[in-house]
């Protein structure tokens, strides 16, 4: 599970639990809210959720690891979600990936050592008409080309100089 140094403030969860009090099947929304608050799902939080909902940790962990949306590890300060939906795929996402791997030694799902950038592969952001698309920290980058992408990244993020 996630490595992390500074302590996690569990009180953030109080109103989440209040919101879903007595609701059936609330585990997933609660995990989503938790991730909104912490950016990922720290072990302490998983344990707390299990305790509060009266369900085994094994179940919480099983669910949290099943869905792609949940992160059990810290992520980078900047997050690039690269769309590999069919439309984007045929319009060049693979080659964008190669460029990224080439320049940042980053495979999808990985984070740079300096914790600056996380690259994720997602299937369809629903902007197929702008394919290939990526989302950098929530901003949509449409009709991408390798050099465009690399330039934007350089501009946006000061990364420990990639080898």
């Amino acid at each position: 599970m996630g490595t992390h140094n500074d302590a996690v403030d569990l009180s953030l969860m109080d109103d989440v639990f209040r919101e879903y009090e007595g609701q059936r099947g609330a585990l997933i929304p609660i995990l989503q809210k938790a991730q909104e608050k912490y950016g990922w799902l720290p072990p302490e939080v998983l344990n707390l959720i299990a305790k509060k909902l009266g369900i085994p940790v094994s179940k919480v962990f099983g669910v949290a690891t099943f869905y792609a949306q949940f992160y059990l590890e810290r992520r980078g300060r900047h997050i690039l979600r690269l769309c590999d939906g069919t439309a984007c795929h045929v319009r060049g996402t693979p080659i964008l990936l190669t460029a990224l791997e080439e320049h940042y030694q980053l495979e999808p799902g990985e984070t740079t050592e300096d914790g600056e950038l996380t690259v994720e592969l997602v299937y369809c952001l629903g902007s197929c008409a702008l394919a290939p698309v990526a989302v950098l920290d929530g901003e949509v980058l449409g009709r991408l080309r390798q050099n465009m992408l690399l330039r934007t990244l350089k501009k946006r993020i000061d990364l420990a100089k990639p080898a």
């Binding site: 059936r24 045929v90 299937y123 008409a129």
Partner: protein, 617 residues
């Protein structure tokens, strides 16, 4: 929750009605256009109007997707329906000054059809819309999805009123059954029959569930519908609930659709305020409410039993049927799961009658089909066409053919669980059964066009990789079998393939189809099989000649400099992270195939087309 004894179907302030002759500039605020600054466009338009002191008379309206995302951001000026494309924020000024004030449409913002020399003025004259028939998307681009009055003005919630005040639940089911509506999730199961089954089970509570977990990469029909006309889906669900006897419902929306979720939230609130949701709707004694459940990123949750597990907070794994949801679904109660579109048809069918619906489309697949037309085609976007139209019409008349004069190669429908069809199938009429016969499927509406530059082997591998990553892992055929297939396909794209692999792929496919627990595993081999069936020569090229005809598979291609064209500008060298490109200034450069990573950056940046991609043969 505020519950009105009797909800009103009249506007609270009529002049806001979209049909009013009042001038209105509609700006698309769908995900597509939003991602190219349409919000800013809207803002600028407002400001410009204020400057002109016209903000009182002219409404700037937020609308859902027009479908023609390719040309986004879209802006339409009503009532003339002048259709502006690729509108930048700075164009707002012009639109207001020249068009609104001056009455002269802004020439340079009009859509230029590659097939016609005159720019097209009006929305419906554009080829892209020519052959469309917009039932579900009828309100998209017309009404403000965040304003229930707009929906009501378009006869919204009248069907619901009719059901609750004039029809017995069984009448509703009969009408829907008579209409011949088939499930738009891809299964094509008769919706009316499905509702009938759920009604038959004498256990309460019952649930209606809307499957908006639009997982197919390259599909965004459901998203656009939810963003552009959320009430039609909600109304459809309430009608279904009434027919089945359910008192609660869920809309399971894909996590990646924040805008759709927001619009749904607003719509639900407004529907509750007006009493369309809640207790004793239309004084009929019937009560119903529903909530949104956001998915958490699992394609398999598009499978109805997995979806219900997910709603219950479990791992999204399917269960073997029986028990069928109609008998024992959510929390072991009778449940009805339909796709977004299936529900959205219901109001129209109830309003206009089964016969009206049946005369659209084909006898066995009545109604329309909504597709997200994407890939290597001139006009990409969201389209709605009558069933029975041919693939060729869609791709060439609506889609405007293949860009850059390239050759059409294949059309993929049905997403990762669908299939690819080549040229010779282009005249197949679109409907559930014909597509199936041709070796593909209707699916939920993704339609991706591949041109000569697409490697079909890699294409097949792409879909299988997706299925493999999305396998829930419950049953061995899918969990392990899909990986074994992927390993073979990867091998082939890397030039390590053997001819026996083709039979092995077929054998494994059979195993998955026959043995897998749910649709995901059973259909995962479909893309591979269809490619094997229609493009076996490409497979052979990879295996026998170690060549990638489309020059896409990294292991089988080389980048080379055409000395005659190279000016030695050194741009490529500077961009090459692998330092594979050498050469003196102003001298032709050379690429070392050993060092080259095939990232294609040089190809991209060369201003003289001096770099070519080569593959044997």
């Amino acid at each position: 929750m505020s519950v009105h004894a009797s909800p009103s179907l009249t506007f609270e302030s009529p002049e806001q009605g979209p049909d009013s002759q009042r001038r209105c500039v509609a700006v698309c605020m769908g995900t597509g256009c939003s991602s190219s600054e349409s919000a800013l466009v809207r803002e600028r338009l407002r400001e410009a109007l204020v400057e002109q002191g016209l903000d009182a008379e002219v409404e700037v309206r937020r609308t859902g997707c027009f479908g023609f995302c390719e040309q986004g951001p879209i802006t339409v000026v009503y009532p003339e329906e002048v259709f502006y494309t690729r509108v930048k924020p700075r164009d707002a000024q012009k639109i207001v000054e020249e068009h609104i004030v001056g009455g002269r449409p802004v020439e340079k913002l009009l859509y230029k059809d590659p097939l016609r020399e005159q720019p097209v003025q009006k929305w419906h004259e554009i080829g892209f819309y020519g052959k469309q028939k917009r039932i579900l998307l009828g309100n998209c681009g017309v009404i403000d999805p965040e304003n229930i009055d707009h929906y009501i003005a378009k006869a919204g919630y009248q069907a619901l009123e009719k059901c609750l005040t004039q029809l017995e639940p069984t009448d509703v089911i009969e009408e829907v059954t008579k209409s011949g509506l088939r499930g738009r999730g891809g299964g094509g199961f008769p919706t009316g029959v499905k509702w009938g089954l759920a009604r038959k089970t004498p256990r309460w509570p019952k649930y209606v569930i809307c499957n908006a977990d639009e997982g197919d990469p390259g599909a965004f029909m459901d998203r656009s519908l939810l963003e552009g006309d959320p009430h039609s889906v909600i109304e459809g669900m309430i009608i279904a609930a009434y027919a089945i006897g359910a008192e609660y419902g869920y809309i399971y929306v894909r996590a990646e659709y924040p805008l759709a979720v927001r619009r749904l939230r607003i719509a639900l609130e407004q529907a509750r305020e007006r009493g369309f949701l809640g207790e004793n709707i239309f004084n009929s004694g019937f009560s119903f409410d529903l909530q949104i459940k956001e998915g958490a990123g699992a394609f398999v949750c598009g499978e109805e039993t997995a979806l219900m597990n997910s709603i219950m907070g479990e791992r999204g794994q399917p269960w073997p049927r029986p028990p069928y949801p109609a008998v024992s679904g959510l929390w072991d109660q009778p449940s009805n799961v339909n796709n977004v579109k299936s529900y959205a048809y219901a109001p129209a069918i109830i309003r206009n009658g089964a016969d009206w619906f049946k005369q659209i489309g084909t006898p066995k697949s009545p109604g329309t089909a909504v597709f997200a037309l994407t890939g290597m085609v001139n006009r990409t976007g969201l389209i709605e066409v009558p069933m029975g139209i041919t693939l060729r019409e869609i791709i060439f008349d609506i889609g405007g053919g293949i860009p850059h004069g390239k050759q059409f190669k294949a059309v993929q429908t049905g997403g990762p669980l669908g299939g690819c069809l080549p040229e010779e199938y282009l005249d197949v009429p679109i409907d559930f059964d014909s597509l199936q016969a041709a070796g593909s499927v209707m699916g939920s509406g993704g339609m991706v066009i591949a041109d000569e530059s697409t490697c079909m082997v890699e294409f097949a591998r792409f879909f299988l990789k997706f299925a493999c990553e999305e396998s829930c892992g419950k049953c061995p055929p899918c969990r392990i079998g899909s990986l074994r297939m992927l390993e073979i396909l990867t091998r082939i794209t890397e030039g390590e393939g053997r001819l026996e692999d083709l039979d092995e792929l077929k054998r494994l496919s059979k195993g998955l189809q026959r043995g897998s627990l749910c649709g995901l595993g059973q259909l995962a081999p479909s893309p591979v099989l269809s490619v094997l069936r229609h493009f076996e020569d490409e497979f052979r090229a990879h295996i026998v000649d170690k060549a990638c005809p489309a020059r896409k598979c990294k292991a089988l291609i080389t980048y080379e400099v055409v000395a005659e064209l190279c000016t030695g500008c050194m741009v490529c060298g500077r961009n090459c992270a692998a330092n594979a490109i050498t050469g003196e200034k102003l001298q032709p450069h050379v690429i070392d195939p050993e060092l080259c990573e095939r990232c294609g950056l040089c190809y991209e940046v060369c201003n003289f087309d001096a770099i070519v991609i080569k593959s044997p043969r």
